[in-house]
Amino acid sequence: MSVQNAEQQLKFLLQQGLPLDSRPYRVLAQQTGLSEEQVLQRIQQWQQEGLIRRMGAIVDHHQLGYNANAMLVFDIPTEQVDLVGETIAASGRVSLCYRRPRRPGWHYNLFCMIHGRCRDQVLQQIAQLRQSLGLSVFPFQILFSRQQFKQCGGDYFESDAKGAANGN
């Protein structure tokens, strides 16, 4: 396997998480043809480059008792959206805050995610957020989740060994 293919294979394997082995990078080395040190080095390099955002435990909110999750969307004037988005982000009250495009019949351009143990707690957090940051003037909607049909990591990297059919 070429180094490039080995790296691609490593990214593919990493999407499934770090092996639960005393020497996890050695397991990945055996599966990619890289050395154990090279595997760790690549991962650290990808973290520095920002390809990997963080390394750690990826928790399931629902299973941990955080059953209420709301997508909070705002319609913010285009010239203000960056400022409002940065203000919400700095408040630490949301787990993510993104700008997305408006669409015909869909005017909301700022998206936040809020998790809580129950619906009332999430509603309380949203009320506090809107009040404390002066967001009351902006149209908004709260989209609570009902059923979770799937929750898993992305599927960005295909395995060279398995071709394009992975995950299907």
Binding site: K11, S22, V59, I88, R100, Q121, G153, G154
Partner: protein, 164 residues
């Protein structure tokens, strides 16, 4: 549902290792040292968390944009067809975070692919098989990304959920 029963070690792992792992060749050994435990117990504790679905995995979170292409997608599906459609959509490669939400657009998921063109192809294939009204909402700017999840194990005295 109340919070699940966890050992102190499992709570410490969830509290301490969502944003980073020790950067050595023996991360579980190093976690054990930091937590005053031993490697076998740390591995067993993580394995149990994964088996019970409390953590999905331990490892890297790839940046959506640098790793490939992704977009949020919303569909408006008749209520009586929602579950069937959602499960059918789950069989497409690249669909994750697939949720029913309280809205006319009642199914929301993230679609990922290795690059923009592949994403477009996946999207077209999905829309062909599932021709419901659709919103395609790619991220334009991230103001805050999810860097893990602080857990309040005790609920707190003012916990509005306590009565449930």
């Amino acid at each position: 549902m109340t919070a699940p029963a966890l050992t102190d070690l499992q709570r410490a792992i969830i509290d301490g290792y969502q944003q980073h792992l020790p950067s050595s060749l023996t991360p579980y050994q190093d976690m054990a040292s930091e937590l005053g435990s031993n490697e076998a117990d740390v591995i067993a504790a993580i394995d149990d968390l994964i088996q019970r679905g409390l953590i999905r995995r331990l490892g890297p979170v790839f940046d959506h944009h640098r790793a490939g292409a992704s977009t949020l997608v919303a569909m408006a599906i008749p209520a009586d067809k929602l579950e069937q459609e959602a499960l059918s959509l789950n069989t497409f490669a690249g669909i994750n975070h697939n949720y029913e939400r309280e809205h006319q657009y009642n199914l929301w998921f993230v679609l990922t692919a290795s690059h923009d063109q592949a994403l477009q192809q996946r999207l077209e294939a999905i829309c062909e098989r599932h021709p419901w009204p659709v919103l395609v909402l790619p991220m334009e700017q991230a103001y805050h990304i999810n860097l893990g999840f602080p857990l309040n194990w005790n609920g707190g005295a003012d916990d509005v959920c306590a009565k449930r």
